[in-house]
């Protein structure tokens, strides 16, 4: 699905990287443990997380993630958002909890990462 559809389904607000709303995403990874993202997340996946520190962006950048959705109404500070702009990555925030976000996106065809 397109990232614009992710935004609509999660009723999310785009924070940075609006130019990527037409990009496609096929896989999602919901996690607050960045160590696991680095181990298991698939390239090009949307990362859904309740953490909003700088290391979330670094993790997404190193693992070539497609975009980041901050759940539970989390919004990173301006310095972190500036870094996201520099990285040219789409970030958005939603009031929904991680469980609901994953459920909604899965129901609409987004797949999870296979740990094989």
């Amino acid at each position: 699905m397109k990232l614009s559809q992710v935004r609509e389904l999660l009723n999310a607000v785009v924070l940075t990287g609006e130019n990527h709303l037409d990009d496609e995403v096929y896989v999602g990874f919901g996690c607050d443990l960045m160590s696991d993202v680095l181990c298991y997340a698939k390239e090009g996946a949307v990362l859904l997380t309740g953490l909003s520190n700088k290391q979330v962006l670094n993790t997404a950048e190193m693992a070539n993630m497609n975009s980041i959705v901050f759940v539970r109404n989390k919004v990173p500070n301006n310095e972190i958002l500036e870094l996201a702009r520099e990285m040219d990555i789409l970030t958005m925030t939603t009031k929904l909890i991680l469980f609901e976000c994953c459920g909604i996106l899965y129901e609409h065809g987004l797949k999870g990462a296979n740990l094989s």
């Binding site: 160590s35 696991d36 993202v37 680095l38 181990c39 979330v56 190193m62």
Partner: protein
């Protein structure tokens, strides 16, 4: 073509941690290394950089660019790892709450470096330091 890039990493500086890995990634992109290999090096290097910030007294990351391989060396000035076998066990970590609250310290870093590198070597001396050398073959 053969050269080295060196990046210093300070203990506990989680504001700067990640910068060296980002610079390494950009360098490799400019060199035209394939995305698949860049991702492996970026992940392994970032795990190493976070380990330096979390566990070491300070250290450096050295990227050596050779003809057919890239070598990433992560070395610090202490405190050294008392039991390397235990440290290499998935899930084992001595990281504190601050680190865990950032989403790290799950005891996955070293095993993830092994997974991504084509060759991995670790040596450590108490009070002297730890050195990790990872090689990545460029196809």
């Amino acid at each position: 073509m053969s050269y080295e890039l060196v990046f210093d990493v300070k203990r506990g500086d989680f504001d700067k941690a990640g910068e060296a890995s980002r610079k390494i990634k950009h360098t490799l992109q400019q060199l035209g290394v394939s995305n698949r290999i860049i991702r492996k090096i970026s992940i392994a290097g970032y795990e190493g950089e976070m380990n330096l910030a979390i566990h070491s007294l300070g250290g450096k990351i050295i990227l050596a660019v050779g003809e057919n391989k890239l070598t990433l060396t992560i070395e610090d000035v202490g405190p050294g790892i008392p039991d390397i076998k235990l440290a290499m066990t998935e899930g084992f970590s001595t990281a504190g709450d601050e680190v865990r609250s950032m989403g790290f310290g799950a005891g996955m870093g070293l095993t993830n470096m092994v997974k991504n590198a084509d060759a991995f070597e670790i040596t450590s001396e108490i009070n002297e330091g730890t050195k990790i050398v990872m090689n990545f073959i460029i196809q």
